[in-house]
Homo-oligomer: 338 residues x 2
């Protein structure tokens, strides 16, 4: 990994910055990074492993000599630059929704379906930041019994909507504490001391695109095209980490102890589940951590073949930047770079 | 109602104060109130319909001449004073969990099971503040098709844990904004810019008592002893109003338009549901309102006989004080005062 040339498109965004943080921790000698962003951010310098790197404007020639291009920007920008990067010989790992459901694009969570990188044709997508923790938990459990249905309600932090939404939460909170007027900016509803069930745009079905992503992407990653999934996706006034209250139904009953054991053995998952010591995960526990945390594991009182779980994950790390780096590692290990 | 003598036990608490607010709006001439609280709060004065009333310490003789005693305090204090109030000839309307599941105590949401006040023996309980909005929505829908299962995940504000938890949210938020250290006080986990799945204590099943209340109380109010219900109850950094993401399954398919019509006709429910105009309820919409708000009504993508809904309600009003006053009105209308 440390010998590769990596382009980071969206280097000054919330996910881009976390990508650089993780590179520094995992690869302290890596400095062959090209930091790319919009014209607005070009010229800034960012320190990577002790070397000051200048942020450049993304252009058609930005990808010459690049092995892996990590892209975390809007779908429009992804759609413009991903094909250019592929033509230049790079493998693109894309954080957006632009390519996820295309049949030629693997959608990968390495611990769940790492071998799907084998059939990439230049672009690999990473899932939405609330889908990833859900499949990280569903995958080991389905080894115990086939999945019948997943119902998931989310509690999603503002960093999922980017750095500007984090600033908006701070501003609104201060205004509300001071009883001052405020206006919503990048977020569609009041976020200070409020929650709202509206992430991404609405579909004709009444679901939001964010909810539909959880449905479609879970099926694609789990190779289970007809798995019944439903979700309500809700924004909460938290900076980092998404939570999911998941109700998972199986073909046969699955005991809590078997579930706990399967989850404890899953790489990238930490079980934090002891009601007697009041141990359960929250966003404050997960922020800055690599692992998906899971707790509140119990038999579903409304279904003898069901389990209820509470899943928490740093949306910028496993939900985005870390998962991308793990895909890059998978490409190296499987010798699937171009 | 304006001729009755009403005792308010817990008059200085979050619910007690909302009780007085609603009395002033609905009964601007009522001033025959006895305001009761712990010794710590005794001596304070509270203005009710223009008359300054002194808060007294609750004692064994506090209920002489009282027609209705509204109690919103801890279960221990309820258990001590409710029987005393009944002996003194009052009907007790209790906001706590002390008596709710007793077979001799009606558990009442007037729009759903108002006639249950008929069989009271002195004490009537009001449901937990997250159960009430759920049954207010489930009741009109079950007129369309029998209920098969309810899965509910909540987003509950801190006022459900009392006035001290509201202060704690403010204090912690200010500390976090200033990057200062803080400690949790009345709440069991960090609430500033955080959420946690822990309301009331844990049961051996892994469910919390709050979640079990939603299960048991929904069944009792709906007269449906074996209805499968499951819930995850989560505290969020919001001052007032609880939200519920509800997945309701029916014996037969129920269309979204039929559901919307049934909910629109339900007294005490307001449908706020237009994705095209980005209309859906949030805690900021519900706080201070009497009605339960419902939106995001859609077919459940994981179950052809299911609907998914988003329910928001002021937990201090319909979740507590307003529901109590409506029970008192029901007692008067049905001539069931002692």
């Amino acid at each position: 990994m440390e010998d590769l040339s990596i382009a980071v498109v969206g280097a000054t965004g919330a996910v881009g910055q976390e990508f650089i943080n993780i590179i520094e921790t995992r690869y302290p000698k890596a400095n062959n990074l090209r930091l790319l962003a919009s014209e607005r951010s070009a010229g800034k310098t960012i320190s990577v492993n002790g070397k000051e790197l200048k942020v450049e404007t993304t252009t058609e020639s930005s990808f010459d000599g690049i092995d892996i291009a990590f892209i975390s920007v809007s779908s429009e920008i992804s759609q413009k630059f991903a094909p250019i990067a592929v033509s230049a010989g790079a493998v693109v790992i894309d954080d957006g929704s632009a390519f996820r459901m295309e049949s030629t694009v693997p959608l990968v969570v390495p611990e769940v379906n790492g071998s799907d990188v084998d059939w990439h044709q230049g672009i690999i997508s990473i899932p939405n930041c609330s889908t990833t923790p859900l499949v990280m938990v569903a995958h080991p459990l389905r080894q115990l019994s086939p999945l019948i249905r997943i119902v998931a309600d989310t509690y999603q932090s503002v960093s999922g909507a980017g750095a500007s939404a984090m600033t908006e939460l701070t501003k609104q909170t201060k205004s509300l504490l001071a009883s001052e007027a405020f206006e919503s900016e990048s977020l569609p509803s009041q976020i200070g001391f409020n929650v709202f069930p509206h992430i991404d745009s609405f579909l004709d079905t009444g679901y939001t695109r964010e909810e539909q992503k959880m449905i479609d992407e879970s099926r694609k990653i789990l190779h289970s095209d007809n798995l019944p999934v439903s979700a309500t996706c809700v924004r909460v006034p938290v900076y980092i980490s998404h939570c999911v209250a998941a109700h998972i139904e199986f073909e046969h009953p699955v005991s809590v102890s078997d579930a706990r054991e399967a989850l404890s053995s899953m790489p990238g998952v930490t079980v934090m589940d002891n009601p007697q010591t009041l141990s359960y995960p929250t966003p404050a526990h997960a922020a800055g951590k690599d692992d998906v945390l899971v707790g509140r594991i119990r038999q579903d009182a409304s279904n003898s073949n069901g389990l209820v779980l509470w899943i928490v994950s740093d949306n910028l790390r496993k939900g985005a930047a870390l998962n991308s780096i793990q895909i890059a590692e998978e490409l190296v290990n499987r010798d699937r770079l171009n």
